[in-house]
């Protein structure tokens, strides 16, 4: 029982080995989270570099440091990189690291599928970002409007890389989506009922549904574009009678839920950080849950507000304007809940909490300019100007990324066992806050003065010069701040101050186990009796108002006239002493290995990697068919398909972990999942 915890300042567990093959074949959700975190950080520098180049060009009027074509590739890849290769994977890093720990599970439902998701992401990310080095990068904007992106107007390979790359990245997100839906539904520890799940896990749950419902739509839109480009179909051929709005509608049916896919995980992280550093339970937990679900549903009903300028008519404009205004309500509810969480709490200003508070402020600004767009007449003035650029950078940089930065400072010690440097962290925060406001706030003005987005240079004396100079200075400050973060992460990965189980005095389940957690996470599956199982033991006065149950898996109910009145509060002195997190104050002890505890651990396997590789080779072959001689292309495509199918069979007919060998491997089905 005392094995749940290591001593507060024991040396962190050394990862068993750092060999290349062990990483290539890992199925441990924490290691996969680690890979996601560092890969996405690498792409953050890459996408940030692209932004720096653009801001250098725009620092003054009439600059020709970049050509128009180079600029097109840069803004396309900046958007694509930041959305698909940075913010989504950073969120995925936290899904991987946190979801099993927060629900009291030993891994995700399908560990090998999880590894597959990561490898598809890495290879697909390289596939889509490398071409820009050879001046063949995608150049149609991150939303790649057809017919602009059809072969008539974009004959080169640029758009082919984009179409194939996004298709590949979609596979990664979908696979992860099915995996986490199953994990959250089915792997919660006894007593971890849905209304006790930490808010990050809740937001992750909503996001997985958004992913599995939104990505098929862009998959089909991209299939149409792929067929148009490679097989001469007519989906986006206006001369054949095609509708130029088809792509826009399909894209934004995906694109708007995507906005919530990007921001909800950050909301979840902030909802973890703020209670800890206010030493108060999250204010209005059920309302936070319901507003998250409502945002998810409404998110599918607002897409056409991206298209007011195309002229859809008064009815469509009205409907989508109204739904857009509606979705601001649950979002605003969250802002107020965070403020009331801090209200009256003893707020500690660490880097993590400063970034979280920064999100609340910055996202509010982005949210308000968002509501401005919901009115079609106002939107007509703002659309395609720098005002919109300002809006979505406040939402995605001030919102998503600042939330994710808060998450990095907060959870890095859980992942590595070492704290990040707080001094450097504060430098990062302040430079980041000042720089991003200096970069993005003036864009509101340059936009309202009429500066269109995506122009590669501009003439002097239009009133934009000063604003652009300020934006450029701000952008470079942000770039420098990001380097501080990366330096901090690299230097303190193994040398930072030791964290112990619970460096921040947090209340949720992941803080009851050692940092970094042992491969099996929980020596014994915990039994959860409230929303803050760790606080129940360390600071019961904090959780007095939170519903409790005695044993975890049953409701403590009061009968009122034969009707159950639901959960009641159990006084601290009557709570079971040995709840989850028992042994928090246990004496120093060695953390036993999985073998010693008899916990089966999935085999290390490279099969998911090779299956992922097959997909990339397939799409590579497809692109090669654009050559004069089509034979090599089709040969490579066939090779990729064979690797994919062979890899799948090889994977699905092999057991996940030792125990299954005796149970009789019944995994012959070509289904991508093998139960844990």
């Amino acid at each position: 029982m005392a094995t749940l915890a290591a001593p507060a300042f024991a040396a962190p567990i050394e990862r068993s080995d750092g060999g290349f093959l062990s990483w290539l074949g890992t199925t441990d959700h924490k290691r996969i989270g680690y890979l996601y975190l560092f890969t996405a950080t690498g792409f953050l520098l890459w996408g940030g570099g692209e932004a720096m180049l653009m801001r250098w060009q725009l620092r003054a009027p009439n600059q020709h440091f970049l050509s128009a074509e180079q600029y097109n590739q840069l803004f396309t890849m900046h958007g694509t990189t930041m959305i698909f290769l940075v913010v989504m994977p950073l969120s995925a890093a936290f899904f991987n690291l946190l979801v099993p720990l927060q629900i009291g599970a030993r891994d995700v439902a399908f560990p090998r599928l999880n590894a597959f998701s990561y490898w598809v992401y890495l290879l697909g990310g390289l596939f889509i970002s490398v071409p820009i080095i050879f001046n063949a990068g995608p150049n149609g904007g991150w939303f790649g409007y057809a017919p602009l992106t059809t072969t008539t107007y974009s004959p080169g390979l640029n758009i082919d890389f984009w179409v194939a790359g996004l298709q590949i990245l979609g596979i990664s997100s979908l696979a992860a989506g099915f995996n986490f839906i199953t994990t959250i539904i089915n792997m919660r520890a006894p007593g971890m009922n849905l209304m006790r799940m930490p808010m990050f896990t809740w937001m992750a749950f909503v996001v997985q549904f958004l992913i599995v419902l939104a990505f098929p739509v862009i998959t089909i839109a991209l299939v149409f574009l792929l067929f148009d480009r490679f097989f001469g179909t007519n989906f986006y051929e206006i001369a054949a009678g095609a509708d130029p709005l088809l792509w826009q509608h399909l894209f934004w049916i995906f694109g708007h839920p995507e906005v919530y896919i990007l921001v909800l995980p950050a909301f979840g992280l902030v909802s973890e950080v703020l209670p800890t550093f206010s030493q108060k339970p999250l204010f209005g937990y059920p309302v936070m849950v319901y507003s998250g679900i409502l945002i998810g549903f409404l998110g599918f009903g607002v897409w056409a507000h991206h298209m007011f300028a195309v002229g859809m008519g008064p009815i469509a404009d009205t409907v989508f304007g109204v739904t857009t205004m509606l979705i601001a309500i649950p979002t605003g509810v969250k802002i107020f809940n965070w403020i009331f969480t801090m209200w009256g709490g003893s707020v500690r200003f660490t880097t993590a909490s400063m970034f979280a508070i920064g999100l609340v402020a910055m996202f509010t600004i982005g949210g308000i300019s968002g509501v401005m767009h919901s009115s079609p007449p106002a939107d007509l003035q703002q659309t395609d100007t720098y005002f919109v650029v300002a809006h979505f950078h406040y939402v995605l940089f001030g919102g998503s990324l600042m939330g994710l930065f808060a998450g990095i400072y907060y959870y890095y010690p859980k992942l590595t066992g070492h704290l990040l440097d707080e001094g450097l962290g504060k430098w990062h925060f302040w430079l980041n806050l000042i720089g991003s406001n200096l970069a993005f706030f003036p864009m509101h003005f340059s936009g309202l003065l009429g500066m269109p987005r995506r122009i590669y240079t501009y003439d002097a004396n239009q009133g934009w010069d000063t604003f652009n100079l300020l934006s450029s200075i701000g952008a470079f400050i942000v770039g420098f701040a990001t380097l501080i973060l990366v330096y901090n992460m690299l230097v303190n990965r193994k040398r930072g101050r030791l964290a112990g189980n619970n460096p921040w005095g947090a209340g949720t389940l992941e803080w009851s186990i050692p940092s970094p957690p042992p491969v099996y996470n929980f020596a014994e599956i915990p039994r959860v009796t409230s929303r803050y199982p760790v606080w129940d033991l360390t600071a019961p006065e904090l959780t007095a108002a939170v519903p409790h149950t005695l044993r975890g898996d049953e409701m403590v109910t009061a009968q009122v006239g034969g009707v159950s009145a639901g959960q009641m509060s159990v006084p601290a002195d009557r709570r079971p002493a040995a709840a989850a997190g028992a042994g928090l104050h246990a004496p120093p002890a060695r953390v036993p290995s999985a073998e010693e505890l008899g916990i089966p651990i999935p085999y290390t396997t490279t099969k998911p990697f090779f299956t992922a590789l097959g997909i990339i080779v397939m799409f590579g072959g497809l692109l090669l068919t654009r050559m004069e001689n089509k034979i090599p292309g089709w040969a490579v495509l066939a090779l990729g398909a064979a690797t994919l199918v062979g890899g799948l069979y090889w994977w699905l007919t092999s057991p996940l972990e030792p125990e299954h060998e005796h149970a009789g491997a019944h995994g012959a089905a070509p289904h991508h999942a093998h139960a844990h």
Partner: protein
């Protein structure tokens, strides 16, 4: 609840702990249902596009009306062949029947079978084979349909109808093909070592996928073929 008596912390009995799931349901079945939900959106996008582009092709041939090419004077009859597709629809429906019988046979493998009827109904090999055979027959119908359409003058490049029709039905056909491969794999396992109740879950998720593909065809048959 008392039957689940536990020590103070959480120590479900060894063995139980490993297969413990919150809902008592197996992971893979939840996974396949989430996948099917996602597929709903995939086919919704394809079907929407077909319907949006219906009647918007600039040139023929058309699915439900005859058309004379003004430049060549060549006459094309209405393309869709309802009798053939009705037959293939029936075949796919019957494959779903064979699939549920295969699942029932796997689940009841250990029950004694005496009469000829019980033996036939209880043969998972027979019903898996029948499902795969009917699925392949459906694909044969589709291959016949596609080639005859191309011969009659409508390919995936001809017009909006051709593009959206071949892509929609082609995606469905690709799903059927994947299902047939899955069925054949399962049949091979059945021949190799016999499928029993412990394999019922694997057959069940395959059956769910197969029926979903059938259900999509039900929608396609009405929306594409019958409604003019």
């Amino acid at each position: 609840m008392d039957s689940f008596a536990m020590p103070d912390v959480i120590v479900p009995a060894a063995g139980v702990e490993h297969t413990y799931t919150t809902t008592g349901l197996p992971h893979r079945k939840i996974g396949i249902w989430a996948f099917i939900g996602s597929e709903c959106m995939l086919f919704a996008s394809l079907i929407s596009t077909y319907l949006i582009y219906k009647g918007r092709s600039v040139v023929g041939p058309f699915p439900h009306e005859a058309w004379t090419d003004p430049s060549t004077g060549h006459h094309f009859r209405a393309i869709l062949n309802i009798p053939v597709t009705s037959a293939s629809t029936f075949v796919l429906l019957m494959s779903s029947l064979a699939m549920v019988l295969a699942l029932a046979a796997v689940e009841n493998r250990d029950k004694p079978k005496v009469t000829m009827g019980e033996k036939i109904l209880g043969s998972s090999k027979l019903w898996l084979f029948m499902t795969a055979l009917l699925g392949t027959t459906f694909l044969g119908f589709q291959a016949f349909e596609f080639t005859s359409f191309v011969h009659e003058g409508v390919s995936i490049r001809t017009n909006l109808f051709g593009s959206s029709f071949f892509t929609l039905t082609g995606f469905h056909g690709a799903h059927v093909t994947a299902g047939v491969l899955w069925l054949c794999t399962m049949l091979a396992v059945d021949f190799k070592r016999g499928l029993g109740p412990k394999d019922a879950l694997n057959v069940d998720i395959m059956a769910l996928y197969w029926h979903f593909v059938d259900v999509v065809w039900i929608a396609i048959f009405t929306l594409v073929y019958l409604i003019r």
